[in-house]
Amino acid sequence: MWAFNLWRNLILVVIAIGILSGCAGDPKNIDPWETVNRPMYDFNEGLDRYALKPLADGYVKVVPKPVRTGLGNAFDNLGYGNVILNDFLQAKWGQGCSDAGRMAVNSTLGIAGLFDVAGPWRMPSHDNDFGITLGKWGMPAGPYMVLPLFGPSCARDAPAIGVEIVTDPLTWVDAPLAAIIPLRVTQAIDARSRADMEVKFRNAAAIDPYIFTRSAYLQFRAGQIHEGQPPPDNSGMYDEESAPASAPATPSGTDTPPAATGTP
């Protein structure tokens, strides 16, 4: 147990340094890197509109649905080691065992994950990742970040991508790049095709898509970490006209549930 705590504390210290170096001054400002994030967001949107979405639309048109479902299942299965690892890191023993069973069954009986055999056998899919693990261990989100390609993230969640890569079997397979790259590109196109309804919705709903995405992302992550047991809301957001009439120059912590803003 002490070794576990030592590792956890080491990781927290390293990442805390990273976070603190990014937090310039105002603890209420949840987007101190906005001047960098917005251009990156625009870049991602451009990439999406001119490359990823056309490819995803073509993919949907050309590839029959059963094949797309199979590919989607296979890609999800490749990423499932990450879910299992984090289940156990969060002491979710029951879910971890179920998820391990799911990956085992789908990889074998489901033929390399193409068929989701485990789902109807009461081993449903779960979402989990290292960002949630760190959040459950007490780490705050840190400054909001928009990553190239990957999109919305934060100082705490960005390193989790490394964990995803390391737990993906495809990373370790000894195959030529000429085989791996098309697979990864297909993975991206498949993910984009599955998210099309959500992206359309965001485009219709948002007045400022950048802030909409930021707010939804930070709240959603906090929700995944707290799992329906949110900390008490003391942001004053639900109180009538509680703050003075003068306008602050920087956005205050209205994007996230209160405990996720600026706590050390």
């Binding site: 998210a195 007045i207 909409f212 639900y238 009538e240 703050a243 009439a245």
Partner: protein
């Protein structure tokens, strides 16, 4: 990928906001009935969700009829004035009554356009009330679960929380939170940053342009 997860959250945001009733129309909300004063917040949500499900499952109604009926329920259950005031927060008092009314109208229209067609997405979902809790300022939050078919089994696919406030003896919805994402907090974040950098005129222009584009 992270973006897929956010987008899944946003997808439920759209569908279940329709069920909670963020739809609009030309009608003004009816006055609260005396019987509503006896209903607890939980009973209000229970009644609302059962009525919405009954409409969505009625084979005799076509899509536009379903949309309209759910919209009517939305007007009964939702306190749109309070939602608007809370969304703008400290900026509300700085507006003239004309600006306030103009904002409420455009905001309402925007939400109606955005969420109006989401009732079309209903398949076979169920809503179960999980629990309720009282907030420090007297509001009540009712937690519900959307049960649907996923990965071949019947399971929870989303958590939806309704926050209600007592207004003149009736409990009204003032916010909906789906999988942790609060409608009010999201729009509040957008609108307040726009107001801080461009004022009410900038916000109104963006809202009007958006509504005009949706009309085409």
């Amino acid at each position: 990928m992270g973006q897929a997860r956010v987008h899944r959250g946003i997808a439920f945001f759209s569908l279940w906001l329709a069920l909670c009733g963020f739809l609009g129309g030309a009608a003004t909300p009816p006055a609260p009935t005396p019987a509503a004063s006896q209903a607890s917040a939980r009973a209000v949500i229970d009644k609302l969700t059962r009525e919405v499900l009954a409409i969505l499952r009625d084979p005799k109604l076509d899509r536009p009829q379903k949309r309209q009926k759910v919209a009517d329920l939305a007007y009964e259950g939702l306190d749109f004035q309070t939602l608007s005031r809370l969304t703008l927060g400290q900026y509300w008092r700085g507006l003239t009554t004309t600006q306030q009314a103009g904002f409420v109208q455009e905001y309402k229209k925007h939400l109606a356009t955005t969420y109006g067609h989401t009732t079309d997405e209903y398949t076979d979902e169920d809503i179960a009330i999980a629990s309720e809790r009282q907030e420090t300022n007297g509001d009540w939050t009712v937690l519900t679960r959307i049960i649907g078919t996923k990965d071949g089994t019947r399971q929870e696919i989303a958590k939806v929380e309704y926050r209600l406030r007592k207004q003149q003896d009736a409990w009204k919805i003032i916010d909906v939170t789906i999988d942790g994402v609060s409608l009010m907090a999201n729009f509040r974040a957008q609108f307040q940053e726009i107001l801080a950098n461009g004022g009410i005129d900038k916000l109104m222009k963006l809202l009007r342009d958006k509504n005009a584009a949706a009309d085409q």
